[in-house]
Amino acid sequence: MSENVLVSVHNVTKSFSLAGTFKKKRHTAVNNVSLDILKGETLALVGESGCGKSTLARLIMRLTEPDSGEIIFDGTDITSLSGRALRPFRKRMQMVFQDPASSLDPRMKIRDIIAEPMEIWKICPDRRERAERIMELLEMVELKESALDKYPDQLSGGQRQRVGIARAISIDPELIICDESVSALDVSVQAQILNLLKRLKKKLGLSCLFISHDLSVVDFIADRVCVMLNGEICETAEPDILFTKPQHEYTRYLISSIPEIKAFINGGKNEYHQ
């Protein structure tokens, strides 16, 4: 079992202080959470806004420090590592953000955006090799070569998100964290990006932590789903089981809230339209 685990989170807690400098009030964003991300697995994290999904992702990336608990990446405890010792681990996990417009530097060309991580990690230092690698990445995310000399604002939302994905996979990470990566996109574009993510994951054997509030998206992409509520994980299950036999009351509430169109497809009528 433990050989298959890429990231293991043990009893992690993180709280933030609220209001005034002298007040002692604190908000616990992540409360005593434990989870494992297996190798090659897509683990989805669902829950309402403010339930701590993003904070948990930032903790795993070591972008924020946990108050207590430990985060183990491929057998090494990275909670106490800092600076230089942490650097090799940074290369092994990458993030795809929600808003592709604000996560790409508007003053950089697409070519430079995709090349920047390779520059930092000194991958493919040879110019020709680097150009080849960029072309290969473009092909993987299904972008045209003409996009390379454009600026982010010249691309559509879907294309920008493809650039964000190309940048994340450019240094062959083992874990990709997608924080609401498809929620800002139109349905037809969202479907394209979801297919792309699934295909890439299969091809590169990536592990993926997929954060979303959209349960139908999660059902499509995830191997396992964690439902979060008020900073705690209240249920973990495979999507098939989660949607057919939800155990926790909150999961049931979430599922009942999805605007469902299945009834119409089957020729029936929705409960709202009697």
């Binding site: 309402e48 806004s49 559509s156 939302g157 879907g158 294309q159 139109d186 349905v187 037809s188 574009v189 969202q190 479907a191 394209q192 979801l194 297919n195 699934k198 295909r199 509030h213 959209d214 349960l215 139908s216 998206v217 059902d219 499509f220 992409i221 999507p239 098939d240 949607f243 057919t244 509430y253 979430l254 599922i255 009942s256 809230s257 999805i258 605007p259 469902e260 169109i261 299945k262 009834a263 119409f264 497809i265 020729g267 009528k269 929705n270 709202y272 339209h273």
Partner: protein, 334 residues
């Protein structure tokens, strides 16, 4: 005729640029009946918000609006909203037409207590005799939209409320003058699913209890299926298909509608990959005499490229603008 509330005839909106104009809405027709919720669906940039804004004449200053928007009174007489003077139209906005915007954070003034913001419309339209009466009305409506402790919340500022609560306040603002038509532009896009469900239920409930009509603009097919009675599918400024809600989901005719529906991941269906619409929406300055969708269409014919198909009826109140769909209908009839 009597059950009509609003009729849009050949509405066009174009944006003026230096020496050209870009068409955004290209001649749409729409009828909203009394007590009915109409849904306008389409992807970003297809002109749905521009349509809604031009109804209330709050489009950007560079936009040119053409066509007629007929408002029907209960006795069957109609007035054209586009021909009204600014002052007369402003009298309509509030008492007759209310609008809910997408982002509850930006459509509320952060410096004013929410109660006073909701009361503003009442005082402007002189629908309350005194401030006290206005206050009572506001508290009643806040309660109706599901805000707990409305007396206390009256004095809250927008930042003190959650997203769902703020959206309820925005709905209360639109509803306070008891309009006959509610225009809701992406009312739940910024909200969580659980809150979304509550807000949808609230809008539906309000429409039923007050016999109010609504025009709901959204890109979410799930929202449409839960809320709307009639659906208009819009693509690059044109209505490609319109039908009662059940028909659109059980018998979609236009390839674009079909594509949209199949793009939505559905719980329990477990496909390996989703069916997608290839390509992306065309640039606004791209001109074609034919169907704008033909480059992404799976059933395109040669003439789609040169000719815009006319709207043809498939069933009662189910219309589609597509050659391929026409052929299929003809084959079906034979």
């Amino acid at each position: 005729m009597k059950d009509r509330l609003l009729e849009i005839r050949d509405l066009t909106v174009s944006l003026k640029k230096k020496n050209s104009s870009i068409p955004i809405v290209k001649g749409i027709d729409m009828i909203i009946k009394r007590g009915e919720i109409a849904g306008l669906v389409g992807e970003s940039g297809c002109g749905k918000s521009m349509t809604a804004r031009s109804l209330m004449r709050i489009q950007p200053p560079s936009a040119i609006v053409d066509g007629s928007i007929l408002w029907y009174e209960a006795d069957g007489t109609s007035t054209d909203l586009t021909k009204l003077k600014e002052k007369e139209l402003r009298k309509m906005c509030g008492p007759q037409i209310g609008m809910v915007f997408q982002e509850p954070m930006t459509s509320l003034n952060p410096m004013i207590r929410i109660g006073d913001q909701v009361a503003e419309a009442l005082l402007i339209h002189k629908m309350a005799g005194s401030r006290r009466e206005a206050r009572d009305k506001v508290i009643r409506i806040l309660k109706e939209v599901g805000i707990r402790d409305p007396e206390l919340r009256y004095r809250s500022y927008p930042h003190e409320l959650s997203g769902g609560m703020r959206q309820r306040v925005v709905i209360a603002m639109a509803m306070i003058c008891e309009p006959k038509l509610l225009i809701a532009d992406e009312p739940t896009t910024a909200l969580d699913v659980t809150t979304e469900a509550q807000i949808l239920k609230l809008i539906r409930q309000m429409c039923t209890t007050r016999n109010m009509s609504a025009l709901v603009i959204t890109h979410n097919m799930g929202v449409v299926s839960q809320l709307c009675d009639r659906v208009y599918v819009m693509y690059t400024g044109r209505i490609l298909e319109r039908a009662p809600v059940g028909e659109i989901f059980s018998k979609p005719l236009h390839p674009y509608t079909k594509g949209l529906l199949s793009s939505i991941p559905r719980i329990g269906s477990n496909p390996e990959y989703l069916t997608t619409i290839p390509g992306s929406i065309p640039e606004t300055d791209q001109k074609t005499s034919g169907c704008e969708f033909c480059l992404r269409c799976s059933e395109d014919e040669r003439r789609c490229f040169f000719e815009m198909p006319e709207e043809t009826g498939y069933a009662e109140e189910h219309y589609v603008r597509c050659f391929a769909a026409q052929h299929r209908m003809e084959a079906e009839n034979e």
